[in-house]
Point group: C2
Chain length 138, copies 2
């Protein structure tokens, strides 16, 4: 149960973008340097973030990325999902009508793990990029 770098870096970079990029495009190299992240790796992440509509890109000299949505409307949970961070607690696919084992009965621990997943998702959905920028975390 530990957070991978994909999700972590994506959030760090977007916070940086919301914090330092006031409307104007920020180059990836700048973000990468400030947050001490590998540039080539960030490129992968921003590719997905652009395709999902979180950021917009400007190419060429003085180009870079800008936020495509208001920081207050971007929830952390959305970012993690967009980037492909699993956030998976149960062993069974909750979509399917099958438990851990073949039986269609759910195992005794199923409710526990789904509960945990719900807790995590609720927390991460309650917090927006703007909350992070303004340090509005409990």
């Amino acid at each position: 149960m530990k957070l991978g770098t994909k999700g972590r870096y994506a959030v760090m970079a977007l916070v940086d973008l919301a914090y330092y990029g006031q409307g104007k495009p920020l180059a990836l190299t700048e973000i990468a340097e400030r947050q001490a992240l590998p540039i080539s790796y960030l490129e992968q992440l921003f590719l997905k973030l652009r395709q999902k509509g979180f950021v917009a890109s400007t190419r060429g000299h003085l180009g870079g990325y800008t936020l495509a949505r208001e920081p207050g409307t971007i929830r952390i949970a959305e970012i993690l999902e967009a980037i492909g961070e699993p956030l998976k607690t149960t062993r069974c696919e909750n979509t399917s009508e099958m438990g851990c084992l073949g039986t269609k009965e759910k195992c005794l621990t199923h409710a526990l793990w789904t509960g945990l997943g719900v807790q995590m998702h609720q927390y991460l959905h309650r917090i927006s990029l703007a909350d992070l920028c303004e340090r509005r975390i409990t």
Copy 2:
């Protein structure tokens, strides 16, 4: 962010032990078969669980494991910690006075991840083995 088998199997096995083992020792083979878990793997886990005082063992014929504490007093969070399931959300060691990068300032996302960790721990500490056996989960 996904749960490994170590923690999952440990909880499953202990729930089984609390549910089916009424005072009398349960053999590992029995638990393993009922929960569809690899026996040799469970042995590793129960070694730790015994050393940490969660279960007691009886050797020889008709031997097995019994719960060493009341099911109502065993919190899920304790089990995961005992078994070595990381449950790590921040990148920095929260013990040390060092952030993600060299600076002793904490990064903007630090509060977020610690908050997430607290949420998870609180939830898992709120629930006991007895709660699972009696299906008292929301």
